[in-house]
Symmetry: none
Subunit: 182 residues, 4 copies
DNA sequence: TATGAATGAGGTTTCATTCAT
DNA sequence: GATGAATGAAACCTCATTCAT
């Protein structure tokens, strides 16, 4: 991305700050503009679609997820690696209400997002393969299954309270084990 | 519900049929009217809100769920009862895209829906209590946890394909067992 | 009007009773039907238009007005006759919120209304002519002027409280005198 | 009111012009939009309610009324002042079919309208008090009585033809004199 | 580049009237 | 004759997006 003029950069920052104060599920660019004290046109210039804004809002979280996925893939203990990955993915998705949409979207606005997502999924694949090789997860589980499960558990936690997080996470983790291990 | 005049019943049926052909998540009463070949006013007379229509669309499924919940509560084997309940709940929610919304809504349009939901939850509670007493589920699980988990797994299945259903259901079922049982 | 079947007569009465409980200015035949516990179609059968209903509601008042106008025309004292007529017209119009519309409408639904209105206006004309001949009203005043003035004063009283009635009536009466009489 | 952008000012003017061609009593913002060749949303942006538009349509007339009321209050002759005020109020109300609604509404949209109305009524009060002190009006007349009478005479004139104006005005003016003055 | 007014399709809702029952 | 569901035009209003300023 080319360097922004300083006023453009300031607008962009104000827009992102404002958007963070609003409900991600019902984001409307008009509201963002009003909240940011900026014209609607300015919001559209920086973010042509709602999804582009959602991606931008999740940029930091995505970076964190990427870093964590690398650490998970590097963990010598496959079980620890998988647990680390799943726990942190769920935590991040719960913290960042737009992350699920970014991860699931087949169309990315920003190239950086596409790259990060690809590497995250690659790391995740390697984590899962290690775990499967170690016999600590069901052999029929795919990366997509796991990703969808995380989204499902996120959904379940959102239906209740944040306090439900540890329990529901644990249910998922326990459920992943191969039948033989019981 | 009092008996409908035959013409009213015909309209109601056409509206429900038309609504079934449309995406439950983005139902618009205008579209329903056009699709049903009926005046907008007629749709609004029968279903004052989108939610009222969604409820009506799920009436049969809700009845099925009620019947199953009774059978589950009556099952002498707590494990079978719980599995029956969870499997069928998930199946029905997957078949009926509006059921989750009906079950989760705190405000019911139709009295019959309120009644059915209450009895379903009561049966469910009794099923869970039996299972807990038999030591075959985590003791810290509440009915709400389970209901939310079913919704979460529904969400996960929808993100993938219907083929994922057995696996993801099994992951949930396995995850519900108490830690001690491993 | 031909004799009504007893049930039709009952419906008619219920409709008129119900209509009397509603605001004459915003009469809606649907509301009347609901209030009367009768189908909309029944209301339409009896009263094809809102105006037809308004006329029917004012039938008694119109009769009273007719009787008074005859007495006014028969009064040997032109001043008393005129005052009687104007005071009672205003009183009746204030009591019966639909009377002004009936009196002003160029199109009458019921023949009886047309007849009554014509005779009222004739009596009124004769009252005014006597008064003019006696030199107690401005010579340039027509019957229409007077009728409109009564409607205007009715409007003025309605903008305030019923207590304003005597004063505003008196203002009108005083204003009618010929300039010479001061 | 802050300065409008030139395009906004143009729209506003077109809307007001269009509205002037329509019947003030049955104004519908949709019709105004069509007539003005402007989107409905634009009309709603400028005038959130029909009343707001009616107020705006009467802005100039209200200014004129305010100016006249000041002159009336400043007139050394109480009779001339009162006559000036009443004649001009009636003239303006007859010319501007929405003025009566604006004057009578307890809820003003625009602050400027509220202010103008208050000052008009204050001037009017002072005019009436002078007249009363001079013994040239009935002592029991209040400002509200007079305002309502003007509305009533307006109504009466509208029921006939504009030619009735001088006569009906004169009737009102004569009627205001104290009984003693005859 | 930033602005925010304008757009106008399309949602919801209401209602006078009709007409099948 | 009575009923009230159906009609569908049309009102109100919102909103994502465009584009003149």
């Amino acid at each position: 991305m080319s360097a922004l003029r300083s006023d453009a950069a300031r607008s962009r920052a104000r827009i992102l700050d404002a958007a963070r104060t609003l409900d991600r599920a019902t984001l409307r660019l008009n509201d963002v503009a009003r909240e940011a004290g900026v014209g609607v046109g300015t919001v559209y210039r920086h973010f042509p679609t709602v999804h582009a804004l959602v991606e931008a809002l999740s940029a930091d979280t995505l970076d964190t997820m990427l870093a964590t996925s690398r650490r998970a893939a590097a963990d010598p203990d496959p079980g620890d690696g998988l647990a680390l990955y799943l726990r942190s993915a769920l935590t991040l998705q719960l913290e960042d209400g737009g992350l699920q949409a970014v991860l699931l979207s087949p169309d990315d606005e920003a190239e950086s997002v596409r790259t990060a997502k690809r590497e995250i999924f690659e790391s995740f694949t390697s984590v899962l393969e290690s775990a499967r090789a170690a016999g600590i997860v069901r052999p029929d589980l795919t990366v997509d299954h796991l990703a969808h499960l995380v989204c499902g558990i996120e959904h379940a936690v959102r239906l209740g309270t944040p306090d439900d997080f540890p329990l529901l996470l644990q249910v998922m983790l326990d459920g992943l084990r191969p039948p033989a291990s019981r």
